[in-house]
């Protein structure tokens, strides 16, 4: 008699958690997760208990207290009566400015050096190799200190610019004089450059904490409009040329469209330059660019450029030789080959590592503390932390801000990266 037998029913036993490969991985993961949670809980508990023992509570109210200290370099209005939060913003803006210009200069320099390193010219190629190897193999901090010391030790003191009546009588020249038609003074404290002033200013509006000059905005709008109008003009000329074979004369119209409105706006607003002038101890008027900023920017740009140069070189080398040969066969000249064939393809390889260089540069701005550049690390993580004694809060906040900046940069760069990748159609 045939009996239908069911498949043997497998009962779940605890031992299967360890010996059955179907369950083992879950077991391991859960155990690891538990251990991790315990470690986090221990750290948190430790922090809370230690804070309690020291009689400190965790809160950020100190950010709204009066800061009471002054900041040398400020791009947004700030006095010592403002809050610690405002000081934080001043530092943040200082960080962002140096990071932005650092990225711009490092990229320009890096691309040039990377391309030149592949040059067939033996001398240029070797010189660029030396540059890359020297800059990326010496710590950044030393470059920052070196540029700062060079800037501050080799330049004259403000009083060396002074011309006294006795000196005129004796026919003596002052020890130092201003450069660029007497508009820029480089002293051992910083570079005094002329400031733009407006007789009929449009004023400024407040966007968040950042005051935005309407004058600057007007100039940007006018320039963009001019460029756009000029493009339309050229497109029109091209269309006429294709239709009739005759290209209309455009050069004077282009000149008029590009420069006319800007010049008109300059006179309408009464733009003129305020030249720095030696008064008392220092140059007054104009804009003072402190050497700490210049040194930090120079060092960051040169250092990061060395890395970017290598990335660019790697990107170019990644494009097969056949592409160049094909371009040459079509009769393209070497520089056209580079800009039309090689670089657009190389960008796919270049962008991802470039993002991490931008992130590095941004984080490295915190080394500005070595030359007393009051960035986020100097204000929030330096003076505010010290005067209020809120180490934990300041450090956490600072980490959070740097993290946000980095994530934003990498988000923007990832969008750009997508746009240069090969499109699969």
């Amino acid at each position: 008699m045939a009996m239908a037998t069911d498949a043997p029913k497998e009962t779940f036993r605890l031992s299967m958690l360890v010996y059955d490969t179907r369950y083992r991985s879950y077991t391991i993961q859960i155990v690891v997760l538990l251990l991790f949670a315990m470690a986090v809980a221990w750290l948190l508990n430790n922090t809370v208990e230690n804070l309690a023992v020291r009689g400190k509570e965790f809160n950020f109210a100190f950010l709204w207290q009066r800061a009471g200290y002054d900041i040398g370099q400020q791009l947004i209005p700030y006095t010592n009566d403002d809050t610690h939060f405002r000081a934080l913003l001043v530092g943040l803006v200082n960080t962002l400015v140096v990071a932005f210009w650092g990225c711009v200069f490092a990229t320009i320099l890096g691309v040039i050096i990377g391309v030149l390193r592949l040059s067939n010219n033996w001398l240029i190629g070797r010189l660029m190799t030396v540059y890359v190897e020297v800059f990326r193999n010496v710590p950044l901090l030393l470059w920052i200190l070196l540029s700062y010391v060079i800037l501050s030790e080799t330049t004259p003191q403000p009083r060396d610019f002074r011309v006294t009546d006795e000196m005129i009588a004796a026919g003596e020249e002052p020890k130092a004089s201003m450069i660029l038609f007497d508009t820029v003074a480089v002293t051992n404290r910083g570079t005094n450059i002329p400031a733009p002033l407006f007789d009929r200013s449009l004023g400024s509006i407040q966007i968040g904490f950042l005051p935005v000059s309407l004058n600057l905005l007007a100039f940007i709008v006018v320039i963009i409009a001019s460029v756009w109008a000029n493009r339309r003009l050229l497109a029109h000329a091209k269309a006429v040329q294709e239709a009739t074979g005759d290209r209309p004369v455009t050069w004077w119209k282009s000149l008029l469209i590009l420069f006319g409105p800007v010049i008109a706006l300059k006179f309408a607003l009464g733009l003129h330059l305020e030249i720095p002038e030696l008064k008392g101890f220092n140059f007054q008027g104009g804009i003072l660019v402190a050497h700490s900023f210049t040194a930090l920017l120079i060092a960051l740009s040169l250092y990061t450029a060395a890395f970017i140069a290598e990335i660019v070189r790697a990107g170019i080398l990644a494009i097969s030789r056949g592409q160049t040969e094909a371009a040459f066969a079509l009769g393209l000249r070497p520089n056209r080959t580079m800009s039309l064939i090689i670089l657009p393809q190389a960008l796919r390889v270049i962008i991802p590592p470039l993002i991490s260089q931008f992130l590095n540069l941004t984080k490295n701005t915190s080394l500005g503390i070595a030359v007393s550049y009051l960035d986020l690390r100097g204000t929030l993580g330096g003076i505010t932390l010290n005067q209020t004694g809120r180490e934990l809060e300041c450090m956490l906040l600072m980490m959070l801000i740097y993290l946000s900046i980095s994530l934003m940069i990498s988000a923007v760069m990832n969008i750009y990266n997508k746009s240069v990748q090969l499109k699969a159609r």
Binding site: V31, N50, R54
Partner: protein, 338 residues
């Protein structure tokens, strides 16, 4: 077939945050060494000499405490701290005691949770400029660039002073005294501001000391003193009374040279108690009975410490001024030892 299964027991270790908050005094005794937070280098107050031995006015107070607690003034480890790192070092327990030209303020007492147990130097903030600048008052410094050490009270006083006098300045923030000196000497700032004693100490190490003047204005009160963590009262008492012992010693004419002789021959009851000849005052602090005698024997009385490190005749050449004993019109006054 039945498998014998062995389950490893998961010992869930509950990790309680072990907070060994025993008193600092016990910690120091158990360690056999005092860890003292000092300046990174301010000649006369706290700086290593050519042989790497720490010396100075603040350093001697550390040595006196070590002599009182451990009976040996050499059992001190000095941890150099900057204006920025000093309070974190004390708070985290990296140092037992901070003697580093630190100003006693309400914020540091309350919010930073420290105790300033004494004032070993009454000071005030001043300005130093080069003589050829032709400045004779701090109020003439309108528009000047001023070097300032970060993380200090002087940073805040400076902002207040210029605001009150309605004049402007450009701050250059530096980390420590040596960096400030470099910037000041290079002419990167017109004036250097810190405590007057610090200015005098800086000037003493400059190659052309005679070309620099300290302006007459003293723009703040800067009571400098040893700092301990808030809540460890016994340890605070030990430091305070070690310091007072040095003051009383000066008042009573006890020096490092004659301390043993005085202990043997004195008829003054307070001196007998102080030097541990009678009573058990030392034991009440958790120290040996001759603790304060050891301190005095190790570094001398307050006057000796002052004269040796920063007094007239040294390169720093500071007058006693406010720091004279109360009996001589100064502010240094010890509570009675009884």
């Amino acid at each position: 077939m039945k498998k014998s299964v062995f389950f490893g027991t998961l010992a869930a270790t509950t990790m309680a945050a072990g907070l060994a908050m025993a008193g600092t005094l016990e910690d120091v005794k158990a360690r056999g060494e005092l860890i003292c937070g000092s300046n990174t280098g301010l000649t006369g107050f706290g700086a290593p000499d050519a042989n790497g031995n720490w010396a100075g006015f603040d350093v001697d107070l550390c040595r006196a405490v070590a002599a009182a607690v451990l009976g040996d003034a050499s059992k001190v480890k000095f941890v150099p701290t900057t204006g920025e790192t000093r309070f974190t070092a004390l708070q985290s327990g990296e140092v037992d005691l901070l003697v580093r030209n630190s100003t006693w303020t309400a914020t540091r007492d309350s919010e930073l949770a420290f105790d300033f147990v004494a004032v070993n130097y009454y000071d005030g903030q001043g300005f130093m400029v080069k003589k050829d600048l032709g400045v004779s008052s701090a109020k003439e410094l309108d528009g000047a660039t001023v070097c300032i050490q970060t993380g200090t009270t002087t940073e805040l006083n400076l902002a207040d002073f210029f605001k009150q006098n309605n004049i402007s300045y450009q701050p250059v923030t530096v980390q420590d005294d040596s960096e400030a000196q470099r910037q000041y000497l290079a002419g990167a700032c017109d004036a250097y501001t810190t405590d007057v004693s610090g200015l005098a100490a800086s000037r003493a190490t400059m190659p052309d000391a005679e070309n620099h003047v300290i302006l007459p204005e003293v723009i703040s009160k800067e009571p400098l003193g040893p700092v301990v963590r808030h809540g460890d009262n016994n340890w605070g008492d030990v430091v305070r009374w070690t310091y007072f012992a040095l003051l009383i010693a000066e008042e009573k004419g006890i020096t490092s040279a004659n301390v043993n002789e005085v202990a043997a021959s004195t008829s003054d009851e307070e001196v007998k108690r102080l030097l541990g000849v009678t009573g058990d005052m030392g034991a009440k602090f958790g120290l040996s009975n001759d603790a304060f005698k050891n301190a005095i024997a190790a570094v001398g009385n307050y006057g000796e410490v002052f004269a040796r490190n920063i007094g007239e005749g040294t390169t720093i050449n500071l007058a006693r001024g406010l720091n004279a004993l109360w009996t001589q019109g100064g502010l240094q006054y010890a509570a009675p030892f009884r």
